[in-house]
Amino acid sequence: MFWQMVKGAVVRQSRRLLLVALTVALGVSLATAMLNVMFDVGDKVNQELKAYGANIVVTPKNASVLKDVYGLDDTGAHKEYLNESDLGKIKTIFWTNNIVAFAPQLSASINLQNGQTVNLDGTWFDRQMLLPTGEYFSTGEKYLKSWWQVDGDWAADDGSNGVMVGKKLANDLKVNKGDTISYKKPDGQADTLRVSGIVSGGGSEENAILAPLALVQKITGLTDKIDQVEVSAVTTPENELARKAAANPKSLTMKEYEIWYCTSYVSSIAYQIEEVIPDSVAHPVRQIAESEGKILDKTQMLMLLITGLSLLSSVLGVSNLVSANIMERSRELGLLKALGASNLAIVLLILTEIFLAGLAGGICGYFIGLGFAQIIGNTVFNSSIAVNIVVMPIVAGLMSLVILLGSLPAIRMILSLRPAIVLHGR
């Protein structure tokens, strides 16, 4: 009988319940979209922030930090190097899939024929690496420094396409793409470098000649050696645990260590790189990591705010519709009370009707929300948003809450409904 009554009421009031369903659908669709974007926005924002370049710099453990920190030269000191042949190991760490790109650097100075001394930086430009898994991984400056503007062609890693010259240096030397630069090798012999392109990026590359790493190793005689590696990794914003670990991983408890190690914090990725590159120190670039965290926190806060407001508007909408419904049906509900129905039985009947309408709206809203999420993803991040299954139970819970809160005024009306008044006045 209960379901007959529910069915009859749903069919009879299909229009009003349709409005309830639409209201719930609207709230749920926005909540679904925002929550899916919120859960996926970390990766998306990280990808966007990769444009800022490397967020980890790996250097030899005992290298002098004076040059890095204060710009002082370490001439005369015993200089330490990393091995180029160890770089493949970076793609073997636990968070290997989070390593977006990396590029080694070997810096040297060369004397030009005109007596001027200039910086010569060896690096990878577009390197295809064969990983232990059998997959190929493309990396190098081309992937790491996406903001670089090259007038001409990128240099090739095999040396077949010459070198690139920083824009400022090119102006000083009055060279253009296609020109050659004459220099003296350390043994005194003269040689030339062909300029494939002029590079501009606003950094130290503006005043340097960028050559294939192998060429710089050959000129300096430092076979397989590199000064440092810049790594770009997709990371999770830092929290207290990450900061504690960054200060001293040994201060963590076993459980904290496991959580930290298995979370893609910049500090844990840096730690894992140190584990695979012998005698290395991996420094997180704090400005980038902190920016990621702040932007992500603010973006997520915005998403949560929109979710909350959309649900609040749904509650108000449902509340109005259900209250109007109860007022319209006051005689019918008064009759049920006159026939002996308890308040609980009537509240259950009304909530079931509203819940069924809300469920229908919620299911539609969920799928519409997935569509909204893709629109947001493609419009804002130029990529699709991953469907997070966790959102479904969260949205189901929020939908139930919207229906319950929206029905509260109506429940109050039902409780105060007096059959003597609604059926034939006092």
Partner: protein
């Protein structure tokens, strides 16, 4: 012991406006009593009190041995469900349920719905062939007969009818009154509230209310 006994019953709104004042009356088991009076005389207020839908502000109402002044709203609901069968002037059928389902609703809130029994109740008021019709597909007289069948389904000790023929034409009024006569003959206790003298005269006894007080009573000549 009387089935219904009212002693010094008053109903005052805001403590000042009296809808009923010092009502004393009894209804015996198997009796058919009519409460008569003009509009605004307090008949409906009296019916709401007797029908367990409202509580008197003073005095005592005893129904089937239970003092209604001592019970709360929850208990009133239970008493209404178990003891009273109500027939309304405006029928008050649930519009999206069929005739038989409207009767089964009363069974559902009382105990368990039994379609066969509900159909038998409809048969009794001559509407078995209209069991699957919605109220909108029934005439006023038919709707009132469904309402009577619904009032009877849980075997109430008292049938309360508020202007049962108020919305009916003469032919249907006759049909409905015949049913009441049959019910009375079977031993049911009936209390009709009406302002129509011709309906009041059908009862064994009539109590006349004016300005919230009993103005007189008259028994039907046998």
């Amino acid at each position: 012991m009387s089935l219904l006994e009212l002693k010094d019953v008053s109903m005052a709104y805001g403590g000042k406006v009296f809808a009923l004042q010092d009502i004393n009356m009894t209804v015996e088991k198997g009796e058919w009593l009519a409460i008569m009076g003009p509009s605004g005389s307090g008949k409906t207020t009296l019916m709401n009190i007797i029908g367990c839908m409202d509580k008197a502000t003073s005095g005592t109402v005893v129904l089937d041995g239970i003092d209604l002044t001592d019970v709360d709203h929850q208990q009133l609901t239970t008493l209404r469900r178990d003891k009273i069968g109500m027939v309304f002037q405006q029928f008050h059928l649930i519009p999206y349920l069929t005739a038989v389902e409207n009767i089964m609703v009363a069974q559902y809130y009382h105990s368990l719905p039994d379609k066969q029994e509900a159909l038998a109740a409809l048969d009794r008021v001559g509407l078995k062939d209209r069991a699957g019709h919605l109220p909108s597909q029934l005439s006023g007289g038919e709707q009132q007969r469904v309402c009577i069948a619904r009032a009877l389904i849980n075997y109430p000790v008292l049938i309360l009818a508020d202007e049962p023929t108020g919305n009916l034409d003469e032919a249907n009024e006759k049909l409905v009154m015949n049913i009441f006569h049959e019910l009375h003959d079977e031993g049911h206790t009936i209390l009709t509230v009406t302002h129509a003298p011709e309906v009041g005269r059908e009862a064994q006894r009539a109590v006349i209310i004016e300005h919230g007080r009993i103005a007189g009573s008259e028994a039907k000549a046998e």
